[in-house]
């Protein structure tokens, strides 16, 4: 049962983070996985696994969150330099390439037992989580979602651009600071305990936009709910679709199979509009 709750929490965290990132960067294609926030988080987690004693339970989540936070800040900086939608996507490609190369290098140079721990962690799964870890994940994600819901009215106006949001009365600095914090907290915890699960933050808000429009005060709560549902379904599929082979596939593979075509479709949709 805890696995179902865990899937729901992770799905809600990823979908709400994607939705908030899209508003923050004024880019409907933003997703924590695609634009490198998860990659930054993975670098942090990798460093924690290599340099800290495994008994220090919070090293991985703390460094994962720090990695996610630094990448989010970096993306915000890139975006301020060049407000083209493609800037963030290209920056994300570069960050992901860097993260991939860095982790590969670390896997090669660390001792064998550390490599195994790293591989197991990176694949990501939603099983074998203790109640203590579950509690940490739940508190972090609920706090992150609460911050985003509390700021969603201002975030909705921030999606019109920073100057326009200021004209409409939004304290843009404060909203951005809280949003960076919430996204880093949720993505960091997700990557730290469940590995890299991609595309949920893109697929859910994208499909909901077609149904309920882009009003963030509706889209964000809806994305949170449907993100939870999507990941529970994806995790169930990952557990049972290959059960006849007595194996299960990582849930990230299911979300990527669903997400990659949606990303291509969304890219086409925004290029032509």
């Amino acid at each position: 049962m805890s696995r179902v709750f865990l899937s729901a929490l992770i799905g809600a965290a990823l979908a709400s983070s994607g939705c908030a990132l899209q508003a923050l960067l004024q880019n409907p294609l933003a997703d924590p996985y695609i634009i490198g926030v998860s990659g930054g988080s993975a670098i942090g987690g990798t460093l924690a696994l290599v340099f800290f004693n495994p008994s220090f339970l919070f090293a991985v989540p703390l460094l994962s969150m720090t990695g996610a936070f630094l990448v989010t800040l970096l993306l915000g900086y890139f975006f301020r330099q060049n407000e083209q939608a493609s800037t963030v996507l290209l920056a994300g490609i570069a960050i992901n390439a860097f993260a991939g190369a860095f982790i590969t290098m670390v896997k090669i140079i660390v001792p064998f037992e550390k490599t195994q721990a790293l591989l197991y962690w990176l694949v990501g799964n939603l099983s074998y989580v203790s109640w203590t870890v579950f509690a940490v994940i739940a508190v972090s994600i609920i706090a992150g979602i609460f911050i985003l819901i509390f700021n969603m009215g201002s975030l909705n106006l921030l999606s019109m651009g920073e100057d326009e949001a200021k004209r409409l009365g939004v304290n843009t600095k404060q909203v951005k600071r809280w949003t960076y914090l919430a996204i880093s907290l949720m993505v960091g915890v997700t990557v730290a305990f469940c590995g890299m699960i991609g595309f949920v933050g893109l697929v859910v808000p994208q499909l909901l936009r077609l149904w309920i429009g882009c009003e963030l005060r509706i889209l964000l709560p809806a994305s949170t709910l449907f993100g939870a549902i999507l990941l529970v379904v994806a995790d169930t599929l990952s557990r049972f679709s290959f059960s006849y082979l007595s194996t299960e596939i990582p849930v990230g593979a299911i979300t990527a199979l669903l997400g990659a075509p949606v990303f291509a479709w969304a890219l086409f949709r925004y290029r032509t509009s």
Partner: protein, 240 residues
């Protein structure tokens, strides 16, 4: 005399080769002021300082004796309604939702479009001849239609003491310029301070009570719209 928007010792740097120093101006209620000048001369930079989106390098902008920099963005938005030159809007956003955003500072950022707000939006759209755009999303609008929706966003709130519109005439045809003219004059008669930047000098003459001609780094002329544009001023401000 009502509320006055006052600029004291203002310094702005619109571009690498342009700098305004010691700019002192007063904007009065019941008055429409047009700011005109060549491209890149600093019209938008001046309006951004006045609307509070860009802090001045030096000097103060006071409204009714209050320094605008001492106010929060939300307090400022309740006093000054403004639109920039080119606003971006998500493609999927509906026209009525975009216009209602003009009330966000007053009603609260979390408040969704309700019936009374929708009635206000519909009434304003009728005045601006854009009722036919209601219910449509932004991706289906032309450039001129988007501009009219942005103007409606600035005008939906009737409470602010100041309205600042950067190039509201851009992309508008004659009929809609006339509608804009008429609604701005009505607001002005309610005691509001109205500032617009314009490229069309004919429009500035028929819309504005006062015209300020900006040249590179100085004010070439400031006076009644009907008489200010003399051949000397045109030479100084526009090199024609």
């Amino acid at each position: 005399m009502g509320v006055i928007l006052s600029v004291q010792q203002l310094e702005i740097k619109p571009g690498p080769h342009s700098l305004f120093r010691n700019l002192n101006l007063d904007f009065l209620p019941n008055q429409i002021t047009a700011i005109v000048g060549e491209n890149g001369v600093g019209k938008s930079s001046l309006l951004n300082c006045l609307s509070g989106t860009q802090p001045p390098r030096h000097g103060t902008v006071m409204l009714d004796g209050i320094n605008l920099c001492s106010l929060s963005n939300r307090q400022r938005a309740c006093l000054i309604s403004s639109i920039g030159q080119a606003e971006q809007t998500p493609d999927d956003l509906r026209v009525e939702a975009r216009i209602a955003q003009g009330l966000a500072a007053r009603l609260g950022f979390h408040v969704l479009l309700d019936k009374p707000t929708l009635v206000r939006v519909e009434k304003l759209c009728e005045e601006l001849n854009i009722s036919h755009l209601l219910g449509r999303s932004f991706k289906n609008l032309s450039g001129g239609e988007k501009k009219r929706v942005h103007i409606a966003r600035a005008l939906i709130d009737e409470e602010p003491q100041v309205y600042i519109l950067d190039e509201p005439d851009a992309g508008l045809d004659l009929r809609h310029r006339h509608a804009l003219n008429s609604i701005l004059k009505k607001r002005s008669l309610l005691g509001k301070i109205i500032l617009v930047t314009l490229h069309d000098l004919t429009l500035s003459q028929c819309l504005a009570d006062r015209t300020i001609v900006l040249a590179k780094g100085f004010i070439a002329a400031d006076g009644p719209s009907q008489t200010v544009l003399t051949p000397e001023v045109m030479q100084e401000g526009f090199s024609v």
